[in-house]
Structures are given as structure tokens and as C-alpha cells.
């Protein structure tokens, strides 16, 4: 009987082999055992990473590393993790921050950085990865890849760093307080609760008290120092130095009231002490230029301390003596970039031109408004900030295509104001022409106008501006 059964069994096997023979089995099998594993499994099975594995389980990151996304893990080995303080170990939130600091999305091998990569970790902070180092930890075992990423082992604790603002805010320097005074309340319509529409303007009406967020004038201007995605070089002045700078600037930033003057002086001092991009100490130049074009001299001997943060470097300096002339600079405005006109129906008479200066051989752009037939037609330019300092106004008005000269007038805030006299615009004059003087009553923005002659006659009521410039008259 057994023989018979064996034969039947054999037959069944042959048939099954024939029918079930899977031509794909060979082709699709994983050709590397590692590719059948996940990072979670790999870490679990690596004895020297058992402590890290415990932390993964404790923080729930083990589930993440089982997932179908690519990760890179820099795992501190057991010996290294012994140095982890009990405070972090026992604080779930801090522990999560700590563990998350070792995991990033996507796979990075040690041959990827060239020379250094800055990668965002799962806790939102950035780390630096070079071919041999993870932040300041050495990589002892590299490039163990599995199906969903790669594992490196490191030999030093890498704790999450503070960012620039977290650090600055943790100090006792006055500069921190000055930045905090720049906070203001605003409404974020996305967060506010809409309760209706204004029947007249059709604008949404929000429920009072909703959607109010705190913003900061400094961050509005130079970027949010809490943003981990942006690196900064930040100069934190000592109290004396920051006050000296504020005092120096205060007369020129007179606001509507004293509070405003205080705030403006803080803002205008500090805004130039931050630049985007991270300069290491050795790379720090003799002066840096802020986003507003202000040159800040860097005296390396004045650097008291250097702090590396997760999004940049903070230099604590005893002095950053910005020259007033660097701070309060001429305000130049190109004629061909107006903010508006007195009428909106004359676009056919407005030419934005690219011309050649036959004397210098240079090309220039200007605005030329002609044959508009409107007496006192004007073109408008909004000037954002004028310091409270006397300015001299000049313009260049080439008048290079007409056969007759004309007159035009400069005005500030009121186009009908005759504070500036009508100025001749002679033929083919490519030089800067003095237009008049202007002294702002206080710090702030103004509107400048270039106004045509008070007639409707073609050619004699043209407007032509290459640029105009307000040059501060500093003592």
C-alpha cells in the first residue's frame, strides 16, 4: 500500500509542480537578505543598540521605523547611551525630542554629503551629517541598509539644540527685551471664526477675539528666528553696546510718541544685526551687510561668546559700531517703477523705456509720459521709510526725444503742494539735477509725486524720470 501511496504522492507532486510552477519566483525574490528587513527589525536585532531600541519603543518611534517610508537612523550604541541624563530619560517629551533627533526622512549614506548635509530630523530640528560625523559624534558603523532606509551607529550623545530665538530668549541680555517689545497682535483670517459678510463691502466679518495671533516686527522684517528651516547669523550685543546703538539712532527715528520712538530705535538697531545664512567663526568676514544693505563692522575681538544653535550661530559681541552714514542711506527710486498715476486711463501715453545714454554709452530705463493732455498729471512713488533728517532731492530727467524742453515738479505727500518749485527739464540732459530740499516731520513713509506742468499742451506737459534720489544730510 505504501508504495502505491508513494506513487500517488509523487504524481500529485509532479502535477502540482507543473501547474504551480511559478516562473516569477526566481525573478522576484529579494536578492539581499537585508532588503527583507525594516529598520525597526535591524535595530532590534543589533545587540549593541538594545538601549536605543528600548528608547524607540518607549517613544513609539519603533512603529515609525517599521513603516513604508525611507529613514536614516544614527543610533547611539549602548555605551554611549549610558551617558544620557536621567532628566531626559524620565521626561517623555524630552526623550521624544532626543530620539527624534537621530532619525531623518530619506536614506543618506556616508557618500552622500559633500562635504556636509543639513538634514531635518523627525523632531523638527536640523542636524549636520558629514562623511564621518553626525553633528560632533563620530560614525562607528555606517551604511547598514534595509528595505526602508539605512542605519549608522554613533559614539556620542547628540542632544537637540536650541534654535536662535530659544537661545536668545533664554539669556538676560537687554536685546532680548527689546525684541520682545516689538511683539504686536494681528488677526490671522485663517484662524479666525467668520460670522458673516459686511453687506456693503462684502468683506468677511470675524468673531471678535478669534484669530488673534502675536507677531513681531523684527521677525516680519528679517524672518522668524524660530524657523528651523532657515539658518541665521545673529549678533547679540551686550547691554551697553545695544543701548549705545539705540541712543545713536534715536534722533532719526522719532515716531508719533515716545513709545514708538523706543520701539523704532530697537527695531532699526537689531534688524541689521541678523543676516540669513550661517557664518562659522572662521568664515566671519570683517563686516556683514544686512538685508537692508547696512554694513555692520565685525570686530572679532569684540566677540565675547559664540553659540551654535540648531538654526544658526549667535555671536555675543561687546560692540557693533554701525556708522550713521551706513544706517541712514540715500533713498533712490527708479522712475520706471511707479506706484500709480493720477488717472488710470492714460496707459497709452506712458512709456517705460530702455534708452541709451549717448554720452556714457550706458543703457538706462526711464518713464516717459507724453501727449496725455491732462494738466497736472502726476506719477506716484511710495517711499517706505524716511529717517527724520534733512534730505536733498535730485533727479535725472533726460528728455531725449522731444524737440522742446518742459517743466515738471516734485511733490511730497500732496501733489498740489508747491513746496518744491517747478524744475526745467532741458533737452538731452543726462545729469542729476537738484530739485529741492525736504525735511520729514518724523520717521515714516511718504508719498512722492512727479507732477506735469499745469497745461494740456503736448510736449510741454510731458513727464520724464530716469530716477530720483533723496540724499540725507547727516551732521
Amino acid at each position: 500500500m505504501t508504495v502505491k501511496y508513494n506513487r500517488i504522492l509523487l504524481l500529485v507532486c509532479v502535477v502540482a509542480a507543473l501547474l504551480g510552477c511559478n516562473k516569477y519566483a526566481d525573478e522576484t525574490k529579494v536578492n539581499n537578505a537585508a532588503l527583507g528587513q525594516t529598520l525597526a527589525q535591524l535595530i532590534k536585532e543589533t545587540p549593541t543598540l538594545s538601549r536605543f531600541n528600548e528608547l524607540l519603543i518607549k517613544t513609539g518611534f519603533d512603529k515609525v521605523l517599521e513603516g513604508s517610508k525611507m529613514y536614516t537612523v544614527w543610533a547611539p550604541d549602548n555605551q554611549t547611551l549610558q551617558a544620557l541624563d536621567a532628566g531626559t530619560l524620565n521626561d517623555a517629551e524630552r526623550l521624544k525630542q532626543f530620539v527624534g533627533n537621530h532619525i531623518v526622512n530619506l536614506s543618506y549614506y556616508t557618500n552622500t554629503p559633500n562635504p556636509v548635509l543639513r538634514i531635518k530630523t523627525l523632531n523638527g530640528k536640523y542636524i549636520k551629517f558629514s562623511t564621518t560625523q553626525f553633528e560632533d559624534a563620530g560614525i562607528t558603523s555606517a551604511n547598514k541598509y534595509v528595505s526602508n532606509g539605512v542605519l549608522h551607529t554613533i559614539n556620542k550623545l547628540v542632544l537637540p539644540r536650541q534654535n536662535v530665538w530659544e537661545y536668545v530668549n533664554s539669556t538676560a541680555y537687554k536685546q532680548k527685551n527689546y525684541i520682545n517689545t516689538l511683539d504686536y497682535q494681528a488677526i490671522d483670517s485663517a484662524k479666525a471664526v467668520q460670522i458673516g459678510l459686511d453687506p456693503v463691502t462684502s468683506k468677511p466679518i470675524y468673531q471678535p477675539g478669534t484669530g488673534i495671533i502675536t507677531r513681531n516686527l523684527l521677525f516680519d522684517r528679517i524672518g522668524d528666528l524660530r524657523n528651523e528651516d532657515q539658518e541665521y547669523t545673529f549678533i547679540l550685543l551686550t547691554d551697553a553696546a545695544v543701548d549705545a546703538e539705540r541712543a545713536k539712532l534715536k534722533p532719526y527715528v522719532q515716531g508719533a510718541n515716545n513709545d514708538e520712538t523706543e520701539r523704532l530705535s530697537s527695531l532699526h538697531v537689531i534688524k541689521d544685526l541678523v543676516i540669513k545664512g550661517n557664518y562659522a567663526l572662521q568664515d566671519l568676514p570683517a563686516s556683514i551687510t544686512s538685508a537692508d544693505g547696512v554694513t555692520v563692522p565685525i570686530d572679532k575681538t569684540a566677540i565675547i561668546d559664540t553659540r551654535t544653535t540648531s538654526n544658526g550661530t549667535v555671536y555675543i559681541m561687546s560692540a557693533a559700531n554701525v556708522k550713521l552714514s551706513d544706517k541712514i542711506r540715500p533713498v533712490k527710486r527708479e522712475g520706471e517703477q511707479p506706484d500709480g498715476f493720477s488717472r488710470t486711463d492714460k496707459s497709452g501715453n506712458i512709456a517705460y523705456r530702455l534708452r541709451l545714454n549717448p554720452l556714457s554709452g550706458q543703457q538706462f530705463n526711464d518713464i516717459y509720459i507724453f501727449n496725455h493732455k491732462i494738466p497736472l498729471f502726476n506719477v506716484r512713488y511710495n517711499l517706505k521709510e524716511l529717517y527724520k533728517v534733512p534730505y536733498k532731492v535730485y533727479w535725472v530727467a533726460p528728455n531725449d526725444v522731444q524737440t522742446v524742453a518742459f517743466k515738471q515738479r516734485f511733490a511730497i505727500n500732496d501733489p498740489l503742494s508747491t513746496a518744491f518749485a517747478e524744475t526745467d527739464v532741458p533737452l538731452k540732459n543726462y545729469n542729476q539735477v537738484f530739485v529741492g530740499d525736504y525735511v520729514p516731520a518724523q520717521f515714516g513713509g511718504v508719498t512722492a509725486y512727479v507732477v506735469a506742468a499745469n497745461n494740456g499742451v503736448d510736449a510741454t506737459n510731458s513727464i520724464n524720470v530716469d530716477y530720483f534720489v533723496l540724499v540725507p544730510q547727516l551732521p
Partner: protein, 1059 residues
């Protein structure tokens, strides 16, 4: 049009001849029925016994005949006695339920014959040829005959599919798994590059044009005229493989004669059959699962230059269930399952035969309903046939063969297009779902739209795309035969074909990626097409048949055929109907509508003469001659026969055979039943040279909105038929009382004057002119072997058909011809086979950047700079050692021609039960897996083949799958041997069991149950769904997998009852 005049004249002449003959018939009428038995002087007496080969028992009632001279019947002990005219006479044995057999007397006094049952594959099987029916042993040409035996177990097959594996030398490649779509049939390899390679089909004596004129507007579909023939209506099929010149300039690819069944007896017989079956989905192609797919996606997006933040911002990377798109992107859908479904088939068939002395009829109706593999595709076919045989007067007989068949098929796009649901089902991201899903995970009944990767929803195509093909064909002929006397007769067959295909398509906008037109985006696509083909056919011939002194047999036929055909296709394409509810062509945007068409009209006249002569039924000689005129031929063909300015193709052939076993010196070799040597040489032609290439014509051209005519070609008045010379040598052997039958043929086919597209100088204003500048030859061997292994109550027959050919190009207008099709590149070069795959050879993957740098190969960027290969790129072989991989590094990487094709078959029968099996195989052919080229391109978010988990990711990783690289900048997925695979396979093509139920004869005559299965298993290493497919009929596109519907397994149960 001038060419038609003389053809008309000849046609009229023929009709006149026929009329004259009809008048002449009145005079001598009575001698026809007279037999001349028992009048032999100096006769020679032969006695013997006839036994059943299986049971060894004597068989009574067997007719023993010497053709036209003597006859006898075996008595109840199986004995017979007959006086034969000479010692060289041949005895013919036949009887109900038994095989037909010839035995040469060969000087013997006693001849014992043992006969096998009817249906036994024998060397004496009757073969139907154009003018006669003769035992295969008496035919000098290389022919194969297939007795369909009712085809009750293969009821769903089309005739072309049915022929697969039945005939040595006939390579039948089924086009796809779509029901009714048929097969590419190549007889003895290829004979032409640009003209047809399809054999000529002649059904019931009339040419059956099996070309489909025009193209289907449903991508990947081919309207198959042969699907109109219900396989159960066919009685027998004869394949003429060598240059018999029966059909002159249309016979270059061989001739397949199909004869439909006529009533065999007068009693009324009613056959009814009903079948029901299941079609099964094929084994799925393994793809990446959702986990591996998302990991792959990360890699490919990263290679596209996306940053970590951009990748993490993709909605499908967000694993937070609170995210509004979480449920939309966290599914696990097996798209292949959504596209291919198991489905059903049904088939009913009724046939009534009977009649009386004056009229016999065979009437059949059939209904087939076969669902396709792709969900909601289906074929419904209704077919009717009326075959009648009428004895109008004792001398005048008539036969009619009238068939009408109509089908309606619901289809989906196939092939490498964005509207092929099967292809989309492979590349669609598995984490998406069929339906829309709300933020909270609630599934809507509405289908999901085009996805984030710009891939259609295959289910939207399946449910909402409408693609139908309605097809009917009337094919009918009436044949009159007037028998003047025993020797002379005149016949005339006149037939008509009326054929119409109507197609309507609608691709919806919802869920389907829009197409880009030259001046618009096509959101929804609408189409309508009408193809018409009609023809008139007449074949009129005179026949002379005589036996002299019992030793010389002469059959002479002469006549002519006239075939007048017309085809037309008109189709319209429209775009952007207002909503998906407007599906007909008129709803498209007016200024995007396109109307196009095609028209052809051609005439063919063939005058022929055929002589068959045999001496002592031992030496056979056949000679044929045909002279063909065609409206397609040029008027200035050098050296051609010219009549009234028209050129004629004069094509003779000759064949001789020697029945060695009838010679005296073999009379004593009892184990030899038959030994026959055959040789033939013939000229045939191929008239598929285009209807109007010999004349210059204009076509419509739109230029900036105004319509005009432009010259479309350069006329070539010297353009002629392709000439195909065929030489064949064959040997037929039957041994051990026919227990072993062997037939072997060697052939040498030479095509000259092959039609080519000769490139022209730019100044000509045309790219090419059609000319006869090519040449090709094909050599090969066909072998068929049949054997009865067990011969008692249990009978076991096995058979083998195998054929091999080698094809060489001998002349081309240029050194080589490079053609591209569906991503593949083929080279046709003098001295090589047609259409060798021409691409890059590879040697693995660079394991590291260092290794790649050491090898130092680059590609040329679009700006001309050199871009070096890196780790993870494919290591292409630099043929010319210039360190740059470019077109010059291509080489032959595969041959789509098989080394061997053929079949095994087996049949076991025991009492009322029998089991038949047919295995088909193909060996040594290479295939280009175009589908896998997409699934292993690693260059887009398309889902990939499962082994893409092994892709190269890390310096030093040893693997065989390249890195993921968006857009494939290094061309890793270019046409290379990575995607060339062996197409060898062995398939259990069909297996069938039938069982005759024991029934009371009063109620029913008989009842039989059939259980059969197709494609039950296929042994292959090919990584696509199936290694058998054909993207087109040209030899230049064979072996290219363009994602057509694969072959699938099916099984069915049927019952047939006889009343």
C-alpha cells in the same frame, strides 16, 4: 480603369463558353451511370481477407474496388475475390466506420488488409484539392489535410486558431486572448517584408478574403473575417504548402482550402449542441506592494530633485489619519484584479442535414456568447449556413454554400496606450482606490478621477468607456456543374461577399487622462468607423478526366477566375463632448472633428490549366500553369507577358511523385505499407503590392484651413507581383500496417522582386517609392509523425508535428532596414533573418560610482556634453570602443523567429469514452517584453515589477536592477537585452474528454458529453502574462509584447444530442 476592359472581355468569354457547354449537354446523357465492372479480359484474380486492425476480427461488407473497373464486397468472414486488370492495379478498400485504404496488387495473389476505424490518421486520407478529392498517397504536392471531425470539443475556436498545431509548417500565433480575434498564420516562415504573409483562404471553392481592410479604431483590435466561420460547420481543411500555382499570383504564402459540411446521407439528422464554460484570469504579474511601492516612490521622487520637505509634503507620504487625504492614499488595491475577471462562455449550435435524391441540404445556426478576460468585454456571434446539393437534371448539378454571420463585440483598448485598462492596471499606484473616498474614510459610489500621478482609473475605462465592433459578412456561392459525359464536364462557381464592420468608441473624460492633440486637449474621445468590403467572384472551368487501359489516369482542368473587390473605410474622430453622457460622434466639438477614410478597388483575373497524370497509380505527375492579370500590376513590367498592353504573371509549377512501395522490389517488405517520394517546383506570386502604387495619385491636404490636393506618391509603372519560387522534396512513409506514419518535407522558397520602399533623394519630394528591389529566401523542414501505440480495446494514438525554418534576406534597396515598433527596434539586413531585435547588450549594473568611473563610459547629452554613467546604471556594452554609448553600439540582441514550432497530440479511447490532448510548443524565439520595459524602467511613479525591491541604492550593492532615476536620464530602460526574453513555451493547448451516453435509440440517436479545457497550463520562462501574441501581421513586428489581452485558461462542459 483601362485595365479592366480586357478582364471584362475574358470574363464574358468564360460565360459564353459555359453557356455553350450548357446547350451541348442535351445530346448525350445516358452513359454516365454505366459502370464497366466484370468486363475484364485477361484478368488477374486476387483473393484476400479484410480484418479490423484493432480486434483482428474479419470485417464483412467492405468494398474492394479497382477504380472504375472492378468491385467486390467482403463476405461475413471478411473474404473477398476480385478480378483485377493487371498485376499493377491498386485495390481500394472502404466501408462504413472504417478508414479508406489503397493497396497495390504488385503481383501478389493474396492480399490481406487490416483496416482501422474511421478517423484514424492515415497516409490514405482523402484530401480535397481544387479540382478533385484524392487519397494523400496519390498527391505529389506537399499538402496536409485536417479532418475537423465536427470540432465538437473545440467549439469556441476560430478556424485560424483551430489550425494551431494541426499542420507541420504552419506557425499559428494567436494575436491575443480576445475572443474571435484570431491568429497570424505563417506557412513555412516568411515570404515578404511589406506584402502579406498570410496564406490564401479558399472556402468551398471561393477565395475568402481574410484581410481586414482599414484599421480598427479600437486600439489593439483586429477584425478577423475568419471568425465568421463557425468551426462546427467545417468538414475538412487542406493546406497546400508548396508552389502548386493553383492560385497564381495569390498563392505565394500557400493556400488553405476549407470545405464546409454538406449532407452526406439522405436521412434527416438533427444535431444540437449546447456548451457552457468559464474563462479564468491569468496568473498575475508580481508588482510592488504598497509598502515597497511607497519606498520606490521616495527614491524616484528624490532622483527627480525633490527635497525631503517636498517629498514629505506629498499627500501619500502623510500617515496621519487626521489628514484629509489620508484615506484617499492609504488603500491596498490589486488593480490587476479590477481589470481581469473570471468570465463565462455559452455556445448553442443546431444543424439539420438530409434531403432526397433531388436535393440535399445542410442547415446550421449557431450562437456564441463569450466573455473576454477584461471585465465587461464580450463577443456575441450569430451564424447561419445553408449548404445544398441539387441534382437539377441527371447531368446538371448545383451546389450552394451560403453563409451569413453577424457579431457584436464589446471591447476595450489594448496595447501601449493610456486607455488600455490592463496596462494602467499594472502601473497604477496600489495605495489608491477605485472609488472616491471622503476625508473620514467613507467610500463614495463615484469612481476616482485621474490620480496625482496623472494615471487614469482603469475601472473608469472598464465601466464608462464604450467600444463596440459590429460585424457581419455574407459569403455565398452557387456552383453549377454540367457533366457532358464520363470524361468531360464544365463547372462554374459564382459568389458574392458583402462585409461590413461598424465600430463606435467613446472614452470618457472622468477618470481618464486626457490626450493632447495638436491644437487642443482631448478630454473625452469619440469615434465611429465603417469598413466595407464586397467582392464578386467567378471561377469557371472545363474538366477532362479519363483512365486509359487501367494504367494511365488523366485529369485535366482549365479555366479562369475573376475576382472583383472593393473596400472602403470611413471614420470620424471627435473630441470633448459636453459631458460623459453624450457618447456619439456628433456631440464632439465641431472644429476638432476629423473625418478620414480609405478606398480601394481591384480586379484579378487568373487563367489556369492543371494536369494530373498517373501511371499505374505509382508514378504521378502534376503540372499547373496560371497567367494572372491584375489591376494592381504596372503596365511597364519588363519581360512580362503582355496582352493588350496589360501585363500578366505567368506562373507554372510541376510536381512528381513515386510510390516506391508499389514497386515489385518492395512487395515482399511486409512492414512497409507506403513509401512515397515527392518533389515539386513551382512559381507563385504575391499580388499584395498596393492597389494604386503603379499609378500616381493625389490625396487631400489641409493647409491653414484650406483644403487642397497634393501628389501622394511617385508612380512606379514597373511595379510587379512578388515572385516566389518554391522547391519541395518530401517523403511519406507508413510502416507496420500503418502503426507508424511519417511525412517529412524539405523546402526552399525564394522570393525575388520583393516589394520594398526604396528611399529617394530629398529632391524627389517623397520619402520613398514602392519598387521590387528586395529578395528573401526561406529554407525549412516539416516533419509529421503519427503512431498508434496501443491498439486493442484501448487505443492510444500519438502524433508529433514539428517544423523549422531559416529565413535570410538576399536583397534590399539599402544595406539594412531599421524599423521601430512599440519601443522595439528591428534590423533587417542582407544575409540575416528578417527583423532581428537591434539594441544594446548589457552586462549587469555598475556596483559603485568608482566602478563606473573606471569603465569610463558616457552618453552624449542633448547639449552635446558627455554625461558619465554612475553606480546603479546599466552597464551597456561599448561595441565600437569610443567610450560613448550611442546608436552605433547597437547590435542584434534577439531573433523573433523560432527554431522549432510544432505540437504533440495524443488520443486515448476506450469504449464510448475518449480523451484527446494537444500540446503546442515554440522553441528558440525571442520576445521583447514591452510591458516589462515599462515595469522595470524605474523612471516614473508608475508601479513596478516586484524585483524592483532589489534596485541599486548604495555604493557597492551587487544587484541586477538599476537605480531609480526619474525620467531615465542615462537611458537605463532603453531597448536592450534586459527586456529580450526567451519566448519558448510548451502549452497544453487543449484537452478534451468526451463520453457517449448509453441511451435508448428510440428517444435519441445519440448523446455525447464533452468536457474540454484550453490553455490549461503553459510552461515558459517568459515574464509577461503569456508568450504567445502578435501585434500585427507584418513580419517586422513579430515577437513584440504590446500589452494585448493575454491568452487565458478556459474550461467548458457541453452536450450534443442527435435526433
Amino acid at each position: 480603369m483601362r485595365i479592366s476592359t480586357p478582364i471584362h472581355v475574358l470574363a464574358i468569354c468564360g460565360s459564353i463558353c459555359f453557356c455553350t457547354a450548357a446547350n451541348a449537354q442535351q445530346k448525350d446523357s445516358t452513359r454516365v451511370a454505366a459502370t464497366s465492372a466484370n468486363k475484364i479480359k485477361n484478368g488477374y484474380e486476387v483473393t484476400g481477407q479484410v480484418t479490423d486492425a484493432a480486434t483482428k476480427k474479419p470485417v464483412p461488407g467492405i468494398n474492394v474496388v479497382v477504380q472504375d473497373i472492378a468491385a467486390a464486397i467482403t463476405d461475413d468472414k471478411g473474404n473477398f475475390k476480385i478480378i483485377v486488370p493487371s498485376k499493377t492495379s491498386v485495390l481500394q478498400f472502404s466501408g462504413q466506420g472504417f478508414q479508406y485504404k489503397d493497396v497495390a496488387v504488385n503481383g501478389r495473389k493474396v492480399i490481406n488488409a487490416s483496416l482501422y476505424e474511421d478517423g484514424f490518421t492515415s497516409a490514405y486520407d482523402l484530401v480535397t484539392l481544387p479540382f478533385r478529392q484524392a487519397p494523400k498517397s496519390q498527391i505529389s504536392y506537399a499538402v496536409s489535410s485536417v479532418n475537423t471531425d465536427g470540432s465538437w470539443t473545440r467549439n469556441k475556436e476560430t478556424p485560424d486558431n483551430f489550425l494551431q498545431g494541426q499542420v507541420a509548417g504552419l506557425n499559428v500565433i494567436r494575436r491575443s486572448g480576445t475572443p474571435g480575434v484570431g491568429a497570424e498564420v505563417f506557412l513555412r516562415g516568411f515570404n515578404s517584408l511589406n506584402a502579406t504573409n498570410q496564406p490564401l483562404y479558399v472556402i468551398d471553392g471561393m477565395i475568402y478574403d481574410a484581410n481586414s481592410y482599414g484599421r480598427s479604431i479600437i486600439n489593439g483590435h483586429v477584425t478577423n473575417p475568419l471568425s465568421n466561420i463557425d468551426i462546427k460547420d467545417i468538414d475538412n481543411i487542406t493546406v497546400i504548402k508548396d508552389g502548386a500555382s493553383y492560385y497564381g499570383s495569390r498563392g505565394a504564402n500557400g493556400v488553405i482550402l476549407i470545405n464546409t459540411a454538406h449532407a452526406k446521407e439522405l436521412t434527416t439528422r438533427i444535431d444540437f449542441a449546447a456548451y457552457g464554460g468559464m474563462n479564468f484570469t491569468p496568473k498575475q504579474i508580481p508588482l510592488l506592494n504598497t509598502t515597497d511601492y511607497r519606498l520606490y516612490l521616495t527614491d524616484v521622487l528624490r532622483s527627480a530633485g525633490q527635497t525631503d520637505a517636498q517629498i514629505q509634503a506629498q499627500p501619500y507620504m502623510n500617515d496621519d489619519p487626521a489628514n484629509p487625504t489620508y484615506y484617499q492614499y492609504h488603500n491596498n488595491t490589486n488593480w490587476q484584479k479590477k481589470v481581469f475577471t473570471n468570465s463565462h462562455s455559452q455556445n448553442y449550435y443546431l444543424k439539420v442535414t438530409g434531403g432526397d435524391n433531388i436535393a440535399k441540404y445542410a442547415l446550421s445556426v449557431g450562437y456564441l456568447n463569450n466573455d473576454g478576460l477584461t471585465d465587461s468585454t464580450n463577443l456575441k456571434r450569430y451564424s447561419t449556413r445553408f449548404n445544398a446539393d441539387l441534382n437539377l437534371t441527371p447531368k446538371l448539378t448545383a451546389n450552394t454554400n451560403l453563409s451569413f454571420s453577424s457579431s457584436e463585440q464589446i471591447l476595450k483598448d489594448q496595447g501601449l496606450t493610456t486607455a488600455n485598462p490592463a496596462l494602467i492596471g499594472l502601473i497604477k499606484a496600489p495605495f489608491l482606490s477605485v472609488n472616491q473616498i471622503s476625508e473620514t474614510g467613507v467610500q463614495s459610489p463615484n469612481l476616482a478621477d485621474v490620480d496625482i500621478f496623472n494615471v487614469s482609473n482603469p475601472v473608469a475605462l472598464i465601466r464608462n468607456a464604450q467600444q463596440t465592433n459590429k460585424y457581419y459578412r455574407f459569403f455565398g456561392s452557387v456552383k453549377f456543374n454540367f457533366q457532358f459525359n464520363k470524361h468531360h464536364s464544365v463547372s462554374s462557381l459564382t459568389g458574392l461577399v458583402y462585409d461590413k464592420v461598424r465600430e463606435n468608441t467613446f472614452i470618457p473624460r472622468m477618470g481618464v487622462v486626457p490626450d493632447t492633440l495638436r491644437n487642443a486637449i482631448a478630454y473625452s474621445r469619440l469615434g465611429a468607423s465603417i469598413q466595407r468590403y464586397n467582392s464578386f467572384y467567378n471561377d469557371t472551368w472545363y474538366s477532362y478526366k479519363r483512365t486509359f487501359t487501367g494504367e494511365h489516369d488523366i485529369l485535366f482542368n482549365a479555366g479562369f477566375r475573376y475576382h472583383d473587390s472593393e473596400s472602403e473605410q470611413d471614420y470620424a474622430q471627435g473630441y470633448n463632448s459636453p459631458t460623459d453622457d453624450f457618447v456619439s460622434i456628433g456631440n464632439g466639438v465641431t472644429n476638432l472633428r476629423r473625418l478620414t477614410g480609405d478606398y480601394g478597388k481591384w480586379k484579378w483575373l487568373n487563367a489556369y490549366a492543371a494536369l494530373n497524370y498517373s501511371f499505374r497509380s505509382k508514378y504521378f505527375l502534376s503540372a499547373n500553369l496560371s497567367a494572372d492579370g491584375s489591376s494592381r500590376f504596372g503596365r511597364d513590367i519588363p519581360g512580362a507577358l503582355s496582352i493588350a498592353g496589360n501585363k500578366y504573371a505567368v506562373l507554372p509549377s510541376v510536381a512528381a511523385s513515386w510510390l516506391i512501395s508499389s514497386e515489385k522490389f518492395l512487395a515482399s517488405a511486409k512492414f512497409i505499407d507506403l513509401l512515397k517520394l515527392r518533389a515539386s517546383y513551382g512559381l507563385t506570386g504575391n499580388d499584395d503590392i498596393g492597389n494604386y502604387n503603379t499609378r500616381s495619385y493625389y490625396r487631400a491636404q489641409n493647409l491653414l484651413g484650406s483644403q487642397g490636393l497634393v501628389l501622394a506618391n511617385i508612380a512606379n509603372p514597373q511595379l510587379q507581383w512578388e515572385l516566389n519560387k518554391k522547391a519541395n522534396v518530401g517523403l511519406d512513409v507508413a510502416l507496420f500496417n500503418e502503426r507508424l506514419n511519417l511525412s517529412i518535407d524539405a523546402y526552399h522558397n525564394v522570393t525575388s522582386k520583393m516589394v520594398t520602399l526604396d528611399p529617394l533623394n530629398t529632391a524627389a519630394g517623397m520619402q520613398y517609392v514602392v519598387a521590387n528591389s528586395g529578395g528573401m529566401r526561406t529554407n525549412g523542414i516539416d516533419l509529421s509523425l503519427n503512431s498508434r501505440i496501443i491498439n486493442n480495446a484501448v487505443k492510444l494514438d500519438v502524433g508529433l508535428n514539428v517544423s523549422t525554418y531559416s529565413n535570410r534576406i538576399t536583397a534590399l534597396p539599402a544595406d539594412n532596414l531599421i524599423t521601430n515598433y512599440a519601443g522595439a527596434t528591428m534590423i533587417t539586413r542582407i544575409g540575416q533573418s528578417t527583423a532581428m531585435f537591434y539594441g544594446y547588450k548589457t552586462n549587469g549594473i555598475y556596483t559603485s560610482n568608482n566602478e563606473a568611473a573606471q569603465v569610463g563610459l558616457s552618453i552624449r547629452g542633448t547639449d552635446g556634453s558627455l554625461v558619465p554613467f554612475k553606480g546603479g546604471d546599466v552597464r551597456f556594452i561599448d561595441v565600437n570602443n569610443d567610450k560613448v554609448i550611442d546608436d552605433n553600439d547597437r547590435q542584434s540582441i534577439g531573433n523573433p523567429n523560432p527554431d522549432f514550432v510544432g505540437s504533440f497530440n495524443g488520443k486515448v479511447s476506450y469504449k464510448s469514452m475518449s480523451l484527446t490532448a494537444l500540446f503546442t510548443f515554440s522553441s528558440g524565439n525571442d520576445l521583447y517584453n514591452g510591458q516589462r520595459a515599462i515595469l522595470q524602467s524605474l523612471s516614473s511613479p508608475a508601479n513596478q515589477f516586484a524585483n524592483v525591491v532589489n534596485r541599486w541604492r548604495f555604493d557597492g550593492q551587487i544587484t541586477d536592477v538599476p537605480r531609480a532615476a526619474y525620467g531615465d536620464p542615462m537611458g537605463n530602460a532603453r531597448f536592450s537585452d534586459r527586456f529580450i526574453e526567451s519566448g519558448s513555451y510548451v502549452r497544453l493547448r487543449t484537452i478534451a474528454v468526451n463520453y457517449n451516453l448509453p441511451i435508448k435509440p428510440k428517444l435519441l440517436k445519440y448523446a455525447t458529453i464533452y468536457l474540454n479545457a484550453d490553455n490549461l497550463f503553459t510552461v515558459t520562462k517568459y515574464l509577461g502574462y503569456d508568450p504567445e501574441f502578435s501585434a500585427g501581421r507584418s513580419p517586422l513586428v513579430q515577437g513584440i509584447d504590446t500589452a494585448l489581452e493575454p491568452q487565458f485558461r478556459s474550461a467548458q462542459l457541453g452536450i450534443r444530442i442527435g435526433l
